[in-house]
Amino acid sequence: MNFDLTEERQMLQDTLRRFLRDNQEALRASTRLGESDNKLGFDAEIWAKLAELGVIGALFSEDDGGFGGAGFDLSTVFEELGRAGVVEPLLDSAVLGGGLIAALGNETQKELVEAVIGGTVHLALAHGEPNSRYDLSHVETTARAAGDNIVLSGRKAVVVNGEAADYLLISARESGASDAQDGISLFLVPRDTAGLSLRGYPLLAGGRAAEMDLDDLHLPASARLGAAGAAYPALHRAMMRAEVALAAETLGAMETATELTREYLLTRQQFGRPIGSFQALQHRMATLLIELEQARSAVINAAGHLDTGPEEQALQIAAARNLIGRAGRLVAEESIQLHGGIAMTEEYELAHIAKRIVMADHRFGDTDTQLERFLDLSAA
């Protein structure tokens, strides 16, 4: 047993934490960029520096041109990003976009992975649809052959980082029923391709996403990633990695929320003494700290099983995200309540952090969906 980070990961954590602390102001400004005319929704300079520091490379294995890529590499990076409330879309561009190209792409397509690691290319996964909810195999968007071309038609929902992406990875069905795992393909599509229209908007917790219409989008067959109709297993694996990253990010945000709350309880005076001296509040703070350690262990379980067999991996990840969904909600709500009005203001850091925690539950499967997955996998 050894729960310490390796020396390399410890260095990565230290470097990233220092960088994020030193760039606090730019990062805070970045949380609001989604609402401005900046269609990136994040800070391009911060992005370039993250690439330069090797933070993006740490998310990829050596085979794929990176120098990490294991579960604990993901959790180390994303915990730090979460602590600082970073909205820069590493999850979407690198873990999902880059990860899927690395898994499915041919040699030419894989050249993009190097550019992602270098910070010069942005990606987004266009998979969710208005009717898919959290069901990974539900794809109504169709891909049909037309001569040498493939034609995509359908609609994609809440495509995070869609407008900033140079390439979109679009899922579409080549065969099978709308919820079948077989028959789904992924296509690598330059954003400015005719027939692809995006309606972008800011996200409540920072960053941007877009609704995407595919209106007879013509693609060469070479745009397909991997074999026809066989993308589901890779999608599932990429999603497992993204869930570990998101769980770690939420853990990091929970750390910041509890730390801000602890500091506030020690300094805020009412009735002539610090409010942290009231036992009623002390016990609630203690509960948050207990749940935070539960969350930390859940992330360790999930990250540690990312490279084990598929059943155990999925079970551990569903368990972690269910626990973090519950503990995260408690930490977000109680941190706001223990602060009082100040935490309701946009300018106070906790407001942004609380939104990151709660809104994470709306990606890839919420607390209840994770519970269902856990029950299904336990019964199997």
Partner: protein, 399 residues
């Protein structure tokens, strides 16, 4: 024990329903149902419709132009307004200041201010909380120093709801800094156009501009704007708080919210079935509904005692805690139902613009409302303060 409304009460309910069917503009109800902001114009419009009907002031005595309805009638009215998605009545003038003026104000103050509240000429806001005086309101520091025929006010108020629309503010100010905390406070009416007043917006975590800071720098307030006696303001403030507690349970809001959640959950598919049929989600909805059924009866028990002339005791604190917990739980259900469509922040859709909302009806407002309504357990005496009150009454001693 009779759980039914009387024939008179039922007839009154029909009358309210008819009025709402005829007079509540459909676009206004739509806006409320979708969680859109009404702005000053929208609020003024609904205010005027109610005033024309003579139903603007349910709690006022008839001599001042009110309905003088009893607690049960008021409850029925509020319940039907919520069910019809009528806008909330801005309470600061009508149900907070007015009862204080009616009880403690001078004849001149009553004659001047009360008609202007009904006509909508004056929009009042509340100057209570300060940066250093939240739960511990009595520690407030805003100073009013008597100087001949006026007071000079200096200090800062915060969390002033809709202060950006207000032309008047009622304030708690410290007039005797040497007295014991509660004893040195006075209740002042201040014209927001007086030189030295500055209103600064506070943007909340859902992006809304709902509350403000109000700064006072050497603001001259005529002495006739003092309500009641100098240094007795705390008594009036406590009286006001008992009025703030009417409809504290928010049963109508919860009912409307629960209906909206069910509508959304019927329209959303989860694993090939409507979400409302999903066991986990349905159980969450059922628990909230069961809590609400019991809480609404607690509410009626207290209301019917109030209608019989008994003052509510710790029960109003209990209702505040339980009522806000249930409303917050329903907000949580709404964001869950919206799934990924809870993520977008589409302010145009919230502000009544033409940009079409994405996702199912109600999804755009779900997450912003969830975050905004964290305030419910913080304001009006935080839920911790309510529990202190309950514990102090039942256990005695230091709470």
């Amino acid at each position: 024990m009779d759980l039914n409304y009387s024939a008179e009460e039922q007839a009154f309910r029909s009358e309210v329903q008819d009025f709402l069917a005829q007079k509540l503009p459909a676009e206004m109800a739509d806006a409320v149902r979708n969680g859109k902001e009404l702005g000053k114009e929208g609020h003024d419009k609904w205010h005027a419709i109610l005033n024309d009907q003579g139903w603007l002031a349910p709690n006022w005595p008839k001599e001042f132009g009110g309905c003088e309805w009893n607690a049960v009638q008021r409850h029925i009215f509020e319940e039907e307004c919520c069910r019809a998605n009528a806008p909330r009545i801005v309470p600061f003038g009508l149900s907070m200041l007015a009862p204080v003026l009616q009880k403690f104000g001078s004849k001149a103050q009553q004659d001047h201010y009360l008609p202007r509240i009904l006509s909508g000429e004056d929009w009042w806001c509340q100057g209570y909380s300060e940066p250093g005086a939240g739960s511990d309101l009595a520690s407030l520091k805003t100073r009013a120093v008597r100087n001949g025929d006026h007071y000079v006010v200096n200090g800062q108020k915060t969390w002033t709801t809709l202060g950006q629309y207000a032309n008047w503010i009622f304030c708690l100010v410290r007039t005797d800094p040497d007295a014991k905390q509660q004893s040195g406070i006075s209740f002042l009416l201040i014209d927001m156009d007086t030189p030295g007043i500055e209103v600064r917006p506070i943007i909340l975590l859902d992006g809304t501009h709902e509350v403000n800071e109000v700064w006072f720098t050497d603001v001259k307030v005529p002495v006739e704007n003092l309500v009641g006696e100098e240094n007795k303001g705390w008594t009036y403030a406590k009286y006001l708080l008992t009025h703030e507690r009417t409809n504290i349970a928010g049963v109508g809001f919860s009912r409307a919210g629960l209906e909206a959640v069910k509508r959304m959950a019927r329209s959303q598919m989860h694993r090939g079935r409507p979400l409302i049929e999903n066991a986990h989600f349905a159980a969450r909805v059922a628990r909230a509904e069961i809590d609400l059924m019991a809480m609404s009866t607690t509410n009626l028990r207290i209301i019917s005692r109030a209608a019989a002339g008994q003052a509510p005791g710790v029960e109003s604190s209990m209702l505040k805690v339980k009522g806000t917990e249930i409303r917050q739980e329903i907000n949580d259900l709404a964001r869950r139902a919206a799934s990924a469509y809870a993520l977008p922040f589409v302010s145009e859709a919230l502000e009544g613009g033409n940009e079409p909302a994405m996702g199912p009806e109600g999804s755009a407002a779900a997450a912003p409302q969830y975050f905004n309504n964290r305030k419910l357990s913080i304001f009006g005496g935080s839920n911790e303060i309510q529990k202190n009150i309950i514990a102090k009454v039942k256990l005695g001693g230091g709470a």
